[in-house]
């Protein structure tokens, strides 16, 4: 008979307020093989762990059940503690009486009853737990960073600096991301390019970093320490090793009517183009959709003018397959589509623009070379209206329910910079709330109001009409309870941001989860904010949630540290909860092989001892424990029950079912 120890945590009042802990103890003590039961205010504290360890030693406990918070929280903590006391860590089970009991039930009697039932189910299960030994798997000492914005660049640099190889994959022709499009950064007003470009150069020059631009992730397989990734390196049609980046090709290219993505479509670019002056690598790409050579077969001017013979129309996409120990997602963001916000006339009036377009308009490298002018007539606007929360905090289905976080600050920045450069231009900002939590943020916003006389109105814009050469803005002033209308020359919409469209595809490939808004989910909102729930996959930057540059850089560094934690090890302990096949019963139908998502099961002709104790030769399933991830698909496909899963065996689950019903 087992000697089971049961420990019930109060979690302060989190559990104890809804669960009568003493009654749970009393009930489980009545179970014959429960040798010890005790409660503690905080089981996860040192005192609680000591209590458990002492009980294991003193009472010779062979199994332990901890009734506490979710196993997702502290299962590892308690298992480690049990191991330190000499018990195999897999002989411990958690009864989740907090998240799945005390926090969802209000009545104490009901809560107590359920806690007892959950404890009994865990006890029933733990009786059939068997000691498991974690195996070892090798770690590939190379990291993959997906996304070449400031988040990806910083993560890659940090990993490379620590001495590990890292590949940086960027979808666009150049690294740099959103930050390379910005003019200045708040709250210090540094020039964005001035602080970003050196980093771009650093990462490109670093011997440990390989950059794949104009490339996308095609396929991911494997697991932490041993990911195998296919990268599709799209054909640039330009030989990167020969190109000097002189730019003659783009000057001479006759196809110059393609909206320039880098300038948010405010101007046009040629079909062969270098994204921007500081692009890394400074190698153009041919946009085959708009290239005359590719579309009509006639042209080939770039090839003729290229002094270094770098143009190659025959280049094809290349698939690079590489193994990685860890992967960092840094896929960034884009602004939301504003077609549902007809009242702003965005897309109808050229003078209604998004704030990202405004960044390009004020950027010295932008379409107007930094001169603030209207896209309609090139005149300098005399009155600019900024509208915040366009599509943010919106539950109507038109926008996003979350706060995009960065808009208040960049709006203050844009308003302030406008007033500084063009003192004769009036600036009005419509806001719902001005949110400035951050170092120097509120001071920055107040400066905009106090020193630069930016006119902040709490209210929203309800309708914009084009009237002659200016815009008529109907708005509200919520504080004065009035309905106002004013004339403006330009309206800037602080558009909500959303994760990059690629996030969902990548989430599926990496089996990393995403939330309802397509932001990647962290393993724990507070304690594991840069880890995805999938081991070995980490999150950096806005792909996890809205962030400004400093926050992004901090998270990028944090993600790098987590990667280093893996790469610095030679081997990782594998999950011992893998499938195992009872060869005596296995009939060799190999249904298991068919359903295994990891190719971890194969049929082998073996001499086995049959149920009558005789040797015989037949096909049986063999599980490769290094490849098995423990999903259990095979156990159900197996008709005779020969295939079982460690840690979630047929007997364990059935015992739980029996205990509950």
């Amino acid at each position: 008979m087992q000697k089971i120890g049961v420990f019930v945590c109060w979690c302060g009042s989190n559990i104890a307020a809804t669960v009568d802990v003493a009654k749970v103890i009393e009930s489980v003590k009545a179970i014959p093989d429960v040798a010890f039961a005790s409660d503690y205010r905080y089981m996860c504290s040192e005192g609680g762990q000591d209590l458990m360890q002492n009980a294991i030693r003193e009472h010779g406990l062979t199994r332990v059940v901890v009734c506490a918070c979710s196993p997702r929280m502290h299962e590892a903590t308690f298992r480690k503690a049990a191991e330190a006391a000499g018990l195999n860590p897999f002989l411990l089970e958690i009864a989740n009486i907090r998240e799945q009991c005390s926090w969802v039930h209000k009545d104490k009697e009901v809560g107590t009853e359920k806690a007892i039932a959950l404890a009994k189910a865990a006890i029933a299960k733990v009786r059939f737990n068997s000691p498991l030994q974690a195996g070892q798997s090798e770690v590939v000492k190379r990291a993959l960073v997906i996304g070449g914005g400031i988040a990806g660049i910083q993560t890659a640099l940090d990993i490379a600096e620590a001495g590990y190889k890292v590949d940086l994959v960027e979808k666009k022709p150049s690294i740099g991301g959103r930050m390379s499009q910005l003019d200045k950064t708040f709250p210090t007003l540094d020039c964005s390019a001035c602080i970003l470009t050196p980093k771009m150069v650093d990462v490109a020059a670093h011997p440990n970093v390989t950059i794949y631009t104009y490339s996308e992730i095609e396929k991911v397989s494997g697991y932490v320490g041993q990911f195998e990734v296919d990268i599709r390196k799209r054909a640039r049609s330009v030989k990167a090793d020969l190109c000097t980046g002189c730019g003659v090709c783009q000057d001479k290219c006759p196809s110059k009517k393609t909206p320039n993505e880098f300038n948010q479509g405010l101007d046009n670019r040629s079909a062969i183009y270098i994204t921007f002056a500081q692009a890394v690598p400074k190698v153009p790409v041919i946009d085959r959709e708009h290239c005359l050579k590719f579309q009509t077969g006639k042209c080939g001017i770039c090839e003729k003018v290229c002094p270094s013979k770098a143009i190659d129309y025959t280049q094809e996409d290349e698939i690079i397959t590489q193994k990685y120990g860890a992967i960092v997602l840094a896929t960034g963001f884009e602004t939301i589509d504003l077609t549902k916000f007809g009242e702003y006339q965005y897309g109808k009036s050229k003078d209604v623009i998004t704030s990202l377009e405004f960044e390009r308009l004020t950027n010295a490298a932008g379409p107007t070379e930094g001169h603030l002018q209207r896209m309609s007539d090139g005149k300098q606007p005399k009155h600019i209206v900024f509208v915040s929360c366009v599509g943010s905090r919106d539950v109507s289905g038109r926008g996003k329910e979350y706060c995009s976080k960065i808009c208040c600050m960049y709006t203050a920045k844009q308003a302030m910079l406008t007033r500084e450069k063009y003192p004769d231009t009036d600036v009005t900002v419509f806001y719902i709330d001005v949110r400035t939590p951050g170092k120097g943020f509120d001071e920055f916003y107040r400066r905009a109001v106090e020193e630069y006389n930016v006119h902040y109105i709490k209210g929203q814009v309800g309708k914009i009409l084009e009237q002659g050469d200016h815009l008529l803005v109907y708005a509200s002033d919520a504080l004065s309870n009035s309905h106002i209308s004013l004339e403006a020359d330009m309206v800037v919409l602080a558009t909500a941001i959303q994760p990059s469209q690629d996030a969902k595809k990548l989430a599926t490939m990496l089996t990393a989860s995403i939330d309802n808004n397509n932001f990647f989910t962290e393993a724990h909102a507070k304690l594991r904010p840069v880890e995805s729930p999938t081991a070995g996959v980490f999150l950096s930057g806005v792909c996890q949630g809205p962030k400004d540059v400093p926050e992004t850089v901090s998270q990028a560094g944090a993600a790098a540290v987590k990667v280093l934690g893996i790469l610095s090890k030679d081997t990782l302990a594998t999950n011992p909860c893998v499938a195992s096949c009872n060869e005596r019963i296995c009939s060799g139908c190999l249904a298991c092989e068919n359903v295994c998502p990891y190719g971890a099961i194969g049929g082998e002709e073996k001499t086995v001892i049959n149920l009558n104790g005789k040797r015989e030769q037949r096909v049986v399933s063999v599980v490769n424990e290094a490849l098995c991830q423990g999903c259990g698909a095979c156990t159900v496909a197996c008709p005779c029950g020969a295939m079982d899963l460690n840690g979630f065996s047929n007997k364990q689950i059935t015992a739980e079912v029996d205990a509950i019903c």
């Binding site: 919106d394 109507s396 309800g462 919520a478 309870n481 309905h483």
Partner: protein, 130 residues
């Protein structure tokens, strides 16, 4: 029977079927309101007054009689609140309490001119023909 303002406010909100706790006083409704310039209490302020259970001031205001029931406020509200429904509910509270109306249905044709939107005419007949 005189009921207190608190209960009255709760009744008005209940009847409107809108969740005023969702309102974040952004003023989008007011900005979108085509009749806002004639109102003494702007749509967002109507919500605010109801949150604070000020029914008296709403019943004495001209706002309930100026709302066109075009529902632009509800359409534009980022939080799914309907000030129009609240205003309608306030108006009903006045009518039901006092048996009064701002104008009678017979008086409406005199107000109609060519510029008046169809919706406003229909809304006016609907509102005053109780």
């Amino acid at each position: 029977m005189q009921v207190n303002e608190k209960e009255q406010a709760a009744e008005i909100v209940r009847r409107s079927g809108t969740d005023i706790s969702k309102c974040m006083q952004c003023g989008k409704c007011t900005a979108a309101c085509p009749a806002g310039y004639k109102m003494d209490i702007q749509p967002h302020r109507v919500v605010w007054e109801l949150i604070n259970e000020h029914v008296d001031v709403l019943q004495k205001a001209v706002t309930p009689w100026k709302c066109l029931s075009c529902f632009a406020c509800a359409e534009r509200c980022p939080r799914g609140v309907s000030p129009a429904a609240l205003i309608e509910s306030v108006r009903l509270s006045i009518i039901r309490q006092q048996g009064e109306n701002c104008i009678t249905v017979e008086e409406i044709p005199a107000y109609i001119d060519e510029k008046m939107p169809q919706q406003a005419i229909v809304a006016a007949f609907r509102k005053y023909n109780k």
